[in-house]
């Protein structure tokens, strides 16, 4: 029997849903193959998340708690994960594909001499390794890949798997951790956070995304109103994050985030492949664009051909009515 280890990411004092999606899938794989599934949480308040992790079937939870983990920094995180890997000795170590994960995945693989498959949309176990599907070429096609080795690291795109609760009474292993400032290779000077309590786009049920067609404050106001009535997160194309209209954390696409909400409303977005790469897995796509030939219509379930300034006000009114 070998171990599948899953990393539990914490953001804003909460377990990231995408980590629990990964844990749910790993639990299922473990049950099918007779492996055990364990989890590791690294945070300034790591122990407070154990209960939440137990709900999803981990048989053991490694807890690495230290004030140094208040903010993401690669050196301490790497040190913690190396330590846990050395005691858990996993055959597979699975992560949700967050920016935090992307920051350390290659380094961890190099350090542990492990094979690694980043940013996959699905994976399964095979003899001596892992098989996975990876979207490539700006997510236009799927590459079937396999990784062989005693240890395989894999990171999974958010929304790839459903949550499946599976209450267990996991053993808790507190991992000793300390780090001198002298070991810290870099210094984190400052964090410039996006405005307040924005909705995590990876977890949003609905997203309203604004593109270059949203030209001015009036347009942005309409976007905010639509997002509000739908309780949706706001996203943006590169055209608007680049122009500084929306925070860069809201960029959706190849450079930005990959999302898969139930409802994605693209407003004034042309549908360049690099944008589509980040949202094509949304369940229902609505596009509002004045150009009937805009490529976004090729993937939209509901395409509204029209000027967003004329379409959005009655659209918002009607949704308000439905909601009441």
């Amino acid at each position: 029997m070998s171990t599948i280890l899953t990393h539990i990411a914490i953001a804003d004092g909460k377990i990231k849903r995408s980590s629990l999606e990964v844990l749910s899938h790993c639990k299922q794989l473990a049950d099918q193959s007779g492996h055990s599934v364990e989890a590791v949480v690294v945070d300034a308040n790591a122990s407070s998340f154990v209960e939440g992790i137990q709900k999803y079937g981990a048989s053991k939870v490694y807890v690495v708690e230290d004030p140094i983990f208040k903010n993401h920094m690669n050196t301490p995180l790497l040190k913690a994960l190396v330590k846990v890997m050395e005691s858990a000795n996993p055959s597979v170590f699975a992560f949700a594909s967050t920016e935090g994960t992307k920051d350390i995945l290659g380094a961890l693989a190099a350090n542990q001499n492990a094979a690694v498959l980043p940013d996959v949309s699905s994976f399964e176990l095979m003899d001596g390794g892992v098989k996975a599907k990876r979207p490539v070429m700006a997510a236009k096609i799927i590459s079937n890949t396999e990784a062989k080795g005693d240890t395989v690291l894999v990171s999974i795109r958010s929304g790839s798997y459903d949550l499946a609760e599976n209450e267990t009474s996991a053993e808790v292993a507190n991992v000793d951790f300390s780090m001198d400032d002298s070991e810290l290779k870099a210094t984190l000077k400052e964090i410039i956070s996006a405005s307040g309590d924005t909705i995590d786009l990876n977890e949003a049920e609905s997203i309203v995304a604004a593109g270059r067609g949203v030209k001015d404050e009036e347009g942005q106001k309409l976007i905010s109103e639509l997002a509000e009535v739908l309780n949706a997160g706001i996203g943006a194309s590169r055209a608007l994050t680049e122009a500084g209209v929306y925070d860069p954390s809201l960029q959706i696409g190849q450079t930005g985030k990959v999302v898969s909400p139930q409802l994605y409303i693209a407003v004034g977005i042309s549908g360049a492949i690099q944008h589509v790469a980040g949202m094509a897995n949304s369940k229902v796509i609505v596009a509002i664009n004045k150009d009937p030939d805009a490529p976004i219509f090729e993937i939209a379930d509901y395409g509204i051909v029209g000027d967003l300034y004329k379409v959005l006000p009655p659209f918002i009114e009607e949704i308000k009515k439905i909601k009441n």
């Binding site: 290659g106 690694v116 979207p135 079937n144 860069p248 659209f315 009607e318 439905i322």
Partner: protein, 256 residues
């Protein structure tokens, strides 16, 4: 400051592609400089213009990769090293990282700069692998760089906000294309690039053989993505179609 920028030639994702028997068929001539690497070159040039120094690009690839290297030289990089390989189908990020780490082992530099990911594979592994192999402090997904005496200040795009990170040099950094708009080489730059030094290095002269580079991951084949069908398109009076779609989102799609 001495910058080394690692650049990769990638297939143009905008070029039409086809899959036949699991193999990817594409116009072999449509190769471009990875967009993230172009941003890394641009930022190194900007910092050189401000603080002085040198920008050298390094690329691993077949003889065709020299076209991409010329482009970086035409943008303004001072010189280049081309690590020549026969093919590149069987290497993975780990193989490339081992080649780069071996190459940089005995070099002197302040900043080793890479793209945050390769536009074709979106792997995003090579940078932190090389940093780990060379035991360098590093930051990934940089959206801004500043240089100070003995330091590189990196603005990194994290999950929810930006992190300002100070790295002592020598260090490694991976760059996002959100950092800048790479310059388009002008005629003067293109002419000058032809006279700039491009050294060719064989893998064997780095003391590497195929066994050192064996990939632990393999691409078995490619397949189409399940197509998304285009749905209904609504044209007409704005208010009417807006209300109609809102109703359908409720009654048909059940998403509001």
């Amino acid at each position: 400051m001495k910058f080394y920028v690692c650049i990769k030639m990638v297939p143009d994702v905008n070029a039409p592609l086809q899959i036949k028997d699991g193999k990817l068929i594409q116009d072999a001539d449509r190769q471009i400089l990875n967009a993230y690497d172009a941003s890394a070159v641009e930022e190194a040039l900007v910092l050189k213009e401000k603080h002085g120094g040198e920008v050298e690009v390094v690329s691993i690839g077949t003889s065709k990769a020299s076209e991409t290297i010329r482009k970086a030289l035409a943008m303004g990089a001072d010189k280049a090293t081309h690590i020549v390989t026969e093919g590149n189908g069987d290497y993975d990020s780990g193989s490339y990282a081992r080649i780069l780490a071996r190459f940089f082992e005995d070099k002197e530099y302040d900043v080793l700069s890479l793209g945050k990911q390769s536009q074709d594979t979106d792997a995003g592994l090579t940078g932190s692998m090389v940093a780990e192999m060379l035991n360098l402090p590093y930051a990934t997904n940089a959206v801004g760089l500043e240089a100070e005496e003995g330091k590189l200040i990196v603005k990194r795009q994290g999950d929810t906000g930006q992190e300002m990170i100070e790295l002592p040099t020598p260090c490694a950094v991976t760059c996002s294309n959100d950092m800048n708009e790479p310059r388009i080489p002008n005629l003067k730059g293109i002419m000058a690039s032809k006279r700039k030094p491009m050294e060719q290095v064989e893998l064997s002269s780095l003391g590497l053989n195929e066994d050192d580079l064996t990939a632990s991951t393999t691409v078995l084949g490619y397949e189409e993505k399940p197509e998304r069908e285009a749905g209904k398109k609504f044209e007409g009076e704005a208010g009417e179609i807006a209300r109609e779609v809102a109703q359908l989102l409720d009654t048909e799609a059940n998403v509001i």
